[in-house]
Symmetry: C2
Subunit: 656 residues, 2 copies
């Protein structure tokens, strides 16, 4: 037996038909469309969040950079963090060029990087809002300024662009930003003992440290995490000291400290409270820095918040954020379907968090949640045409409610062209374009395969793993392993929670008992070739939530593999609440290649109450209600709202 040296992942090519379609859509539609929007060259309608009170006449995001670079006159327009739309787009574009090199796109992105360099100030600072509108307020209003958040997003983009294209300028901009921040923040005299109201810089600095090896960046990330909430009055005192009357973002006046995860040190925070995206970006940064520094307290906080989110505050689709007020978490087991938020960015951020946890610990639970987001809660944020987006992802929607009840006006029932606050579209694009980075982690001599997204991956010594399947529609997962130098390693295959106890494994044609540890079945590899077949249980399952959840009591959801299903009015006569499912009703699953770009649909034998007449009394004596046999057609949740406008429900009434 040879001395075992660490295995390294060298490349991943995605071959999954499902994901190839999305990744080519990013190249073909999403990136050109978003670039046109950010350059104000698209004829679109910009949807304003009803909570916001700005005017939403254009994106202006690229124009802001031009103005800051002195290449154009004018005022900043949009949110103080408008720059991040461009940076997330640049990051997505960078990833896309790793699987779809594109000289035309490369010219645009090179020019963009050059524009960003021109907009950057000599000391490395870059926030077009402050440079154009309020240079004297730099770093003086951190609660709402998003300056570090904004630069953090550039740092992520710059690192990605450098990694894919080798652009030294892209990396240099990032380093100069980090140096500027390092110059200005810290506990020593004259520095600001604070942090940004929106986490992001922490994970960005950790990422910059990984690519540059500069310890200062990691230390700075760690400082921000340690300092957060230590002085709960920091933000308010800063605003008071500044004395400027104007709010940077008017609706943020009066949001509580917990909204910003700044009420107490994060090491003391027990529950996932406040703005959901901030929480998961913060958790991602904590996990990242915990792994790189070994800080046990940070890791404990990650475990605590992970557990709270996943066990008590997450929708069955992976969405998080139970209220539109502050786009926030509420309290344990509070999971209303119709007034919820479920921001696309929050599901994207949850994917980041899950990925970081997988880098620390080989636990299938993290990969389960990642899968839940990739195939449900995050993916629903984009239309099948790549040009329409959801900010809010409800589990129940009704156009009449959206139009008629102000408590649900944030729940769009059709995806928008763009948003006044357009954080989500490019965020989802960068997740899809980088999904190859979420498939494996290697730890010592173990390779962990987290997702059933077909791919070919190469590792140290020419080890190659070819995963083929027709997932998520089919559960036959095949792994071909080429191991030319007969290196000895373990391959950990994730046994998803939805197939625990029902999956079947064969290795070179020989059936094996699955003895999963923390959600992974391990196969020792030391031959030059090996074929593994994993058969996952793709039965249609009726799911229920814990009855601690008031909103879903007596309701059922339908799931098959990782895919959560939804009923839409496009397939079923409304109102959808008139249908009831039994616990043992017959279901059929069938692949429809012409429907919604190809989806497995599910048909369920259900019952349906005849609708009461419009002239019937509003309240009457109850009697066991008549119900007629009916057939309910369900489609994958991620694909809803791609046809005519109508009602949608994930949770369906039950009644045996």
């Amino acid at each position: 037996m040879s001395v075992e040296t660490a295995v390294k992942l060298e490349s991943v090519d995605i071959t999954s038909g499902f994901w190839q379609r999305y990744r080519q859509l990013v190249v073909r539609e999403v990136l050109p469309y978003q670039w046109a929007v950010m350059n104000d060259e698209a004829d679109i309608e910009i949807t304003m969040d009803p909570q916001r009170n700005g005017q939403d006449r254009s994106s202006h995001a690229v124009a802001n950079l031009r103005i800051a670079a002195g290449r154009m006159d004018g005022h900043h327009y949009g949110f103080p963090f408008q720059d991040t739309d461009v940076y997330k787009w640049l990051e997505a574009a960078a990833y896309s060029m790793s699987y779809a090199p594109n000289p035309d796109l490369k010219r645009i992105t090179d020019d963009l990087v050059e524009l960003i360099a021109a907009a950057q100030q000599p000391d490395g600072y870059l926030s077009t809002f402050f440079q154009i509108e309020a240079p004297e307020r730099r770093f003086k209003r951190l609660q709402q300024s998003h300056e570090l958040y904004t630069m953090g997003h550039y740092i992520e983009a710059g690192v990605a662009y450098y990694e894919v294209t080798g652009s030294k300028l892209a990396l240099e901009i990032a380093r100069r930003m980090a140096d500027c921040i390092d110059e200005n923040f810290g506990l020593s005299e004259g520095k600001i003992p604070g942090y940004d109201g929106h986490a992001e810089i922490e994970l960005a600095l950790a990422r910059l440290f990984e690519v540059t090896g500069v310890q200062r960046y990691l230390d700075l990330a760690h400082f921000f995490l340690s300092q957060r909430g230590v002085d709960p009055e920091f933000f308010e005192r800063q605003i008071e000291a500044d004395g400027w009357e104007r709010d940077l973002i008017p609706i943020m006046r009066g949001l509580p400290r917990r909204y910003y995860q700044a009420a107490e040190p994060i090491r003391d925070q027990k529950t996932a409270d406040g703005h959901a995206v901030r929480v998961v970006y913060l958790c991602c940064g904590m996990a990242y820095v915990a792994r790189l520094t070994g800080d046990r307290d940070l890791l404990d906080a990650c475990h605590r918040l992970w557990e709270d989110i996943v066990s008590r505050r997450m929708y069955i689709t992976g969405n998080i954020g139970s209220t539109t007020a502050g786009e926030a978490f509420t309290y344990d087991y509070d999971l209303p379907a119709d007034t919820m938020y479920g921001e696309t960015c929050a599901s994207v951020g949850m994917s980041f968090f899950a990925r970081q946890m997988l880098e620390i610990e080989p636990r299938g639970e993290y990969a389960d949640v990642l899968e839940k987001e990739l195939f449900n809660g995050a993916l629903s944020g984009m239309s099948l045409d790549g040009r329409h987006f959801f900010y809010v992802n409800p589990l129940e929607a009704d156009p009449a409610a959206t139009a008629g009840n102000p408590g649900k006006s944030h729940v769009l029932t059709q995806r928008a062209d763009w948003f006044g606050c357009a954080c989500c579209p490019a965020n989802l694009a960068r997740l899809i374009a980088s999904v190859d980075r979420y498939l494996y982690t290697v730890s010592g001599t173990a390779i962990l395969s987290h997702q059933f997204i077909a791919n070919t991956a190469t590792f140290t010594d020419g080890v190659r793993i070819t995963q083929t399947n027709d997932f998520p529609w089919d559960g036959e997962i095949r792994y071909e392993i080429d191991n030319p130098v007969r290196r000895a390693f373990k391959l950990g295959l994730r046994i998803p929670s939805w197939s625990a106890g029902t999956a079947r494994l064969t290795v070179d044609g020989v059936a094996r008992d699955i003895d999963a540890r923390d959600g992974f079945a391990y196969v020792n590899v030391d031959s030059s070739r090996l074929t593994i077949e994993l058969e996952l249980d793709m039965s249609v399952r009726l799911m229920r939530a814990s009855n601690r959840v008031r909103e879903t009591f007596g309701k059922l959801a339908v799931q098959r593999g990782p895919i959560v299903y939804a009923a839409e009015q496009a397939d079923n006569e409304g109102p959808l609440w008139l249908y009831t499912l039994g616990h043992d009703m017959k279901t059929d699953a069938r692949y429809e290649s012409d429907l919604l770009e190809g989806v497995e649909i599910i048909q369920v034998d259900a019952r349906r109450q005849p609708q009461d007449g419009a002239d019937a009394a509003l309240y009457t004596d109850a009697a066991a209600a008549p119900a007629e046999a009916a057939r309910l057609t369900l489609i994958p949740y991620f694909a809803w709202a791609n046809r005519e406008n109508g009602q949608m429900q994930v949770w369906l009434n039950s009644g045996d």
Copy 2:
């Protein structure tokens, strides 16, 4: 047969034990308590509506009048309509003295009337906010100013005080206000072609017309109703013309015209939209003026809006207003139990509307709704001790949701001492103190008895009707009629919708078929004595809503007589949503004299799912859930939240 001359109602003495308790509570607790609060002499906590952003440190309502009268220095504090708290209290005090003369109270109210006279300006204007803070803006900001609303409330109080005590000063103040308004409003040159953002003056002027006979007042009321919405831009143009930056009530910026029922002429309005209290006050004014003028268009609008409210927008308890946003109606069949508003004032206003409709047409449906409000939705606004009040009356409440979900933070689970916007407490007090005015209408030679509130009433020619019963707990309703001059008249007895087809009637011991017309059974009276016994069906009934209501699909409510029941955590182990009722479950009703000042409770055999463990998975495969036999104890809805804080539900899950 004598020539029939019109019968007139002369007096009503309430003898009902149930209502006597409430009416004595008004005298003993409610009036002294509210007077102390309005004089800032009570040690209380003032609850701020989360939507408001004022400081709520005191009532200051009487102090504002003192300042306006020049008897005290200082600034106005509170809402522009703060004066109305005092006026509604004065009106309630006036009514109370009709059944409980009270020299101590009379000294206070006489002094108060004298203070109001002193605060009134020479031309009759009175609004302490404008007099103290912005005299130059008189009548210039009608959308939010509430000036006519405020004076309207005084006019109602002044008329009531005059009627009960004979105070000429009280009436004179009212007439001077009406003259001032008449001087300033109208379509002729130099007058304001507008109306108040909050209806009230219309019904008040009609009432003043009835007591004074001055036609100008009725014409002015009719003008306000005809002019409303004719120029939909009136409010905005007035604000623009005024040019003052400050909003009188900041949260009202941006509310749509429909909020104020000012988007189109009320004759064209098809649905009950906007602020629920404004709608029902407007409807009450329309009905009042329609009756006095014979304006058929106004009556049609009343019918249309009544039908929309009662058939599609009213909770089973009579509450109205489905959303906290604008305290408003939403859309047909949108009746969520947990995010609703159901303002106490809206149920009080709906009672006013119903009463006015009864004055026009003898239809039991109006009396049914009035009863629903009196015994449920309105009454729940006050605690059994008379010192705590609800603004919002939910049909489902959970302290955890109120504390943890901002979409439900307006739903208090315990009544408050007082409110920053304190419209409800005195409004309910004046309804209770004047409930004797809601029992009869006379039309030609017919006397209609609308309510089963025990009383003795005297009419023309010594006709006396003595109604005795133990309603709402018992359904035996006895009428003794004394008719010394053997006058011929018809007595219309309401057959409530909840006992239609099941009531039994005997006249002088002889059973009679009930041939109800529009909800009334008519008995001809021409003897000197007559005894009528009406036996109403007091069975416990399981009720359901139309299945056009999404929120109550598959849920049941329990009703007995007019009383809607609720489950409270004080009697039943939570969470309450774990209980399910069957359609044929056994129920027991039992009077509990020591509970909640004496109530009939209902016990229902139900089933209860064991609660899932806190460590159970959030989502699992569904199976027919185990449920254990359980007994659910229900109390009348109006009496909820008089014990320890906990969950409450009117609508209960069902499952056969």
